[in-house]
């Protein structure tokens, strides 16, 4: 019998089963009709499943088998820094003194947590060369929003109407979206032919209506923005701030500090650089570091240290307010803290160096087999395209799908937008030479297959439990929840 598709849990339900039994009431039961207003009580929850614990465990274990994670294999998803997540950091986050701590417990009962957060702020400030750090943002994008709101508040205080933010065309989509959300108009800056920003382009666009330049360094092409110092001084001379999206910080750790290059704000993606797990798409954490001038605007609360005592400070007149409830994604901070202590200063520097070496090694060995639009030393990632394969009708998407058959997660595809058919490869420092060589071998074979048997690629993947998925159908006829009707078996599959 062919292995079928795992049913939805709702389709496994058998009335009367349960997977966990709440404790027997040790207090008198209440008559709902007496304690609740008329009509407030709900009827049965239609479709809610009833399964045993084993049904549940087996269901999710099978689903996990349909997933690919860093622990499964090489995951060179560009700009996502899919590095290995040390297990001791997981254990630390689950210690009951951390995981069973209520956010509104009196400060005296949370000294360990506040101390950890205070120290982590200090570490991040040292790594980036910033003056102050908030750990509150829930993710990189929320850090960006917080930073841009702080810039807006700063100029409001000064009585300056600065409505524009300059953003390079290589930027992540979150950058313009965050700026827009903070009330700014986005002005796109074109990168040079070399894939980086030029002082001339910034000089042309920067004026006293511009609040900031928001860039990513190294940028999404994996290239270091060589002109950063010059660019920052142009922005500063016109009274603006330089925001750096810290998505690609991994390449710079211990090697150079953004704060020393004229950057005024940077958010850290703890789930990238500091090795906290990506969780299948979150939770992440996006602390934000700023220079002195912006410190008064940081979100509340701030953590204060007086002698050996830690406390929370809520009353800060110029703060932008809150970005979320409580203090941030604390258990993610615990993991990042543990990671920094595990690596130490020397280890973090080695992270940056080996991340860069791995990317350059891949780049050198794949060059010639795939088109490399920017042939220069890269940082933590390199970007190829499908130009050589397109003459056989093979696209980036096909290459990505075929990689799955070789046991690899595909790179980031079709991003950055400035490169047509981009394949953005970020190996990270945790991958060994053997793994890189196996990946290179697979890529070379795919390049050969594209020439000899393009159909093999067009129909890939062949070995995964699920064949190529019809994303068009999903968008044309959205089915976004289970409603009880059996799955239709469409006839138009190709």
């Amino acid at each position: 019998m062919e292995k079928g598709r795992e049913l939805l849990i709702f389709e496994r339900s058998s009335p009367g089963r349960t997977g966990v039994r709440p404790p027997t009431a040790d207090v008198p039961e209440v008559d709902l009709d007496k304690v609740l207003p008329k009509g407030a009580v709900r009827g049965d929850i239609e479709g809610f499943p009833e399964v045993s614990e084993l049904d549940c465990v087996r269901h999710f274990t099978r689903l996990s088998n349909e997933n690919f994670g860093v622990d499964t294999g090489f995951y060179p998803l560009g700009s996502c820094t899919m590095k290995y997540n040390p297990k001791v950091c997981e254990d630390a986050s689950r210690l009951s003194g951390f995981s069973r701590l209520h956010p509104y417990e009196p400060e005296g009962l949370c000294q360990g947590a506040l101390e950890l957060m205070h120290e982590l702020e200090g570490y991040l400030a040292e790594i980036s060369g910033m003056d102050a750090v908030t750990l509150q943002p829930a993710a990189g994008a929320q850090g960006e929003l917080g930073g841009m709101l702080m810039i807006a508040a700063y100029f409001r205080d000064k009585g300056e109407a600065r409505r524009k933010v300059l953003i390079p065309d290589t930027a992540h989509g979150t950058n313009p979206a965050s700026c827009r959300l903070a009330g700014f108009d986005v002005v796109e800056v074109r990168s040079s032919r070399d894939g980086i920003l030029t002082p001339e382009a910034i000089e042309r666009l920067m004026d006293d209506g511009c609040a900031a330049l928001m860039l990513t360094n190294p940028n999404t092409l994996g290239l270091f923005e060589d002109n950063i110092e010059k660019i920052a001084s142009i922005v500063h001379s016109k009274g603006g701030f330089v925001y750096c999206d810290g998505a690609n910080l991994n390449a710079l750790m211990g090697v150079a500090r953004l704060g020393d290059m004229g950057v005024d704000l940077v958010q850290f993606n703890l789930h990238k650089t500091f090795s906290t797990p990506h969780g299948g798409g979150g939770p992440g954490s996006g602390p934000l570091g700023v220079k002195k001038a912006l410190e008064p605007y940081l979100p509340v609360p701030r953590i204060r240290k007086n002698g050996d005592e830690y406390s929370l400070e809520f009353d800060r007149e110029r703060s932008i307010g809150r970005l979320k409830a409580f203090y941030g994604n604390f258990s993610v901070m615990v993991r990042a803290y543990a990671y920094i202590r595990l690596m130490g200063a020397e280890g973090l520097k080695r992270v940056g160096e080996m991340a860069v070496l791995n990317a350059n090694y891949l780049k050198e060995r794949l060059k010639g087999h795939f088109h490399l639009p920017h042939d220069r030393t890269c940082m933590h990632e390199c970007v190829f395209t499908d130009r050589l394969q397109r003459r056989y009708g093979v696209t980036t998407l096909d290459i990505a799908k075929r990689l799955m058959d070789y046991g690899f997660h595909p790179p980031t595809i079709y991003f950055p937008l400035v490169v047509d058919g981009a394949l953005m490869i970020e190996p990270t420092e945790t991958e060994s030479l053997q793994t890189l060589d196996e990946f290179i071998e697979a890529m070379k074979r795919i390049a050969k297959e594209a020439e000899e048997d393009p159909h093999l690629l067009k129909n890939a993947p062949h070995t995964t439990g699920t064949a190529r998925v019809d994303e068009t159908r999903a968008a044309r006829e959205p089915v976004l929840r289970w409603t009880g009707s059996p799955p239709t078996n469409p006839d138009h599959c190709t």
């Binding site: 499943p49 622990d71 090697v255």
Partner: protein, 462 residues
């Protein structure tokens, strides 16, 4: 002595040399010459030295012991973060690294585990809220409220919003932060001092230019709001009703907001399988009517088929999002809270239909007992008359901070003093009971409280 390696970096010296050879450089340092010399950091980072795994383990254990967990005290705190039991299977499943070391399921063929579980999560959220569509989750309850307010603005084309004063104060603050950039104005509606619920007349007295009203249910005081009446009032003004649910376990008993005329339901899913963790990560959820689907922020998973006609799932309707629409996206949010949503899904699967209802009843019974026990104390009275779910506000005859500090001496974290959020409630404490609070614990809270007041009377006499 031989150089010590790092467990997370596999490169040997010999391999580094070989790789440098391929790249055409003599050393890694040469590679980094791509950075202008003056930008290179010439000193080591001022960070502690590397520790072994064993040392990191004990260091963190020591730090964790400088906290008092809910295991080590009787905790009667809620207020948006609830101490519920998490069945063992939840952590076992979310600890499967196929789940937690994956990223956003961009490649559906090798991400069906994440995708199907999110599809199941979306179904659960719709079932619980009585709505038609759910997204794949947002950061937390507070930012979900902020996103809902912005979404209501896009749908109605209006830029004035009403926030109830009974909405969690930190949710309110978050929404105001998000609104700052959008040129949206807001008004905070008063609550009825007797009932502790939103004043409906305040909605009726507003001008007709509102995008939405946001109300929490049960509200921050634990009181049940009159959702249907609020819904009529806000719809009369042409605005939408956004209901925020901070304690979703209440949905096991209470009529879903979707049946009460609500347009967008958001909330905090922490109660369902996420540990307290000092405030995060938690789980923001959002559900709405199908007609507002294209204005909903965040990732969405849809059902489709693969090439062989087999059921499959993938991220869909992505054109709403930042990576495609950039500055014109519905939100800047990129990820969802994948693992927290998975925990929520597993939790709900385990509880099932009966378990969820049973647990909801148990919570309401525990809170009713706590309420009765505390009100038996002469110096404690109920602040509001409205019915509640698992938390409520008490008024104490004296300084609540002092009262709570005294309780702490007896290992009881007696609740949240409200004066910090509501200056007029300067003798008030929000107390919560869940299935984690035993009868014995509750009785002790009552006894200790009685003793404290008796002692303080004695002290006054002296």
């Amino acid at each position: 002595m031989e150089k010590r390696g790092f467990t997370c970096i596999p490169h040997t010296d010999e391999e580094i040399a070989r790789m440098c050879g391929v790249v055409g450089i003599a050393s890694v340092d040469e590679l980094l010459n791509v950075l202008p010399g003056e930008l290179r950091l010439t000193r080591p980072l001022r960070l502690p030295e590397a520790l072994s795994e064993q040392e990191v383990g004990s260091l963190l254990r020591d730090m964790s012991r400088r906290n008092t967990s809910t295991d080590d005290c009787s905790c009667f705190l809620g207020a948006g973060a609830y101490n519920h039991y998490i069945p063992s299977a939840v952590d076992h499943i979310i600890s499967r690294s196929e789940f937690y070391t994956a990223y956003t399921p961009y490649q559906p063929e090798i991400s069906q585990g994440t995708l199907q579980s999110i599809f199941e999560y979306q179904t659960f959220i719709c079932q619980l809220t009585g709505m038609e569509v759910s997204n794949a989750s947002l950061y937390d309850g507070a930012s979900a409220v902020a996103e809902a307010v912005l979404m209501a603005g896009r749908i109605t084309g209006k830029n004035h919003v009403l926030l109830s004063s009974t909405l969690h104060p930190e949710y309110r603050e978050t929404a105001l932060t998000y609104l700052e950039g959008g040129g949206v104005s807001s008004r905070v509606l008063p609550y009825c001092p007797e009932k502790g619920t939103t004043m409906i007349q305040a909605v009726e007295e507003c001008k007709d230019d509102i995008a939405c009203l946001v109300v929490q249910h049960p509200n921050f005081f634990g009181s049940l709001e009159e959702i249907e009446a609020l819904s009529r009032a806000v719809h009369d003004k042409g605005g939408l009703l956004v209901v925020a649910v901070a304690e979703p376990l209440s949905l096991g008993i209470l009529k879903p907001p979707g049946e009460l005329g609500c347009d967008i339901v958001v909330g905090e899913g922490q109660s369902f399988g996420s540990p307290l963790s000092f405030g995060g990560p938690y789980l923001g959820f959002m559900a709405t009517r199908e007609r507002y689907l294209r204005q909903m922020p965040g990732r969405i998973v849809g059902q489709t088929v693969d090439r062989n006609g087999k059921r499959a799932f993938c991220l869909t309707l992505a054109t709403r999002e930042q990576h495609i629409r950039r500055a014109r996206a519905t939100s800047n949010i990129c990820t969802n809270q994948g693992l927290s949503a998975l925990a929520c899904t597993v939790y709900l699967v385990l509880l099932g239909r009966k378990g969820l209802m049973e647990l909801s009843r148990l919570n309401i019974a525990k809170a009713a007992y706590l309420r009765k026990r505390l009100l038996d104390v002469k110096e404690i009275s109920a602040a509001f008359t409205s019915p509640c779910f698992n938390e409520f506000v008490i008024e104490v005859d004296g300084d609540p901070e002092g009262f709570l500090e005294e309780l702490l001496e007896h290992g009881i974290v007696g609740g949240l003093s409200l004066g910090r959020f509501y200056p007029e409630l300067d003798r008030h404490i929000l107390v919560t009971a869940t299935e984690m609070n035993t009868k014995e614990e509750i009785d002790r809270y009552g006894e200790v409280a009685e003793g404290l007041f008796a002692r303080s009377i004695e002290e006054t006499r002296r």
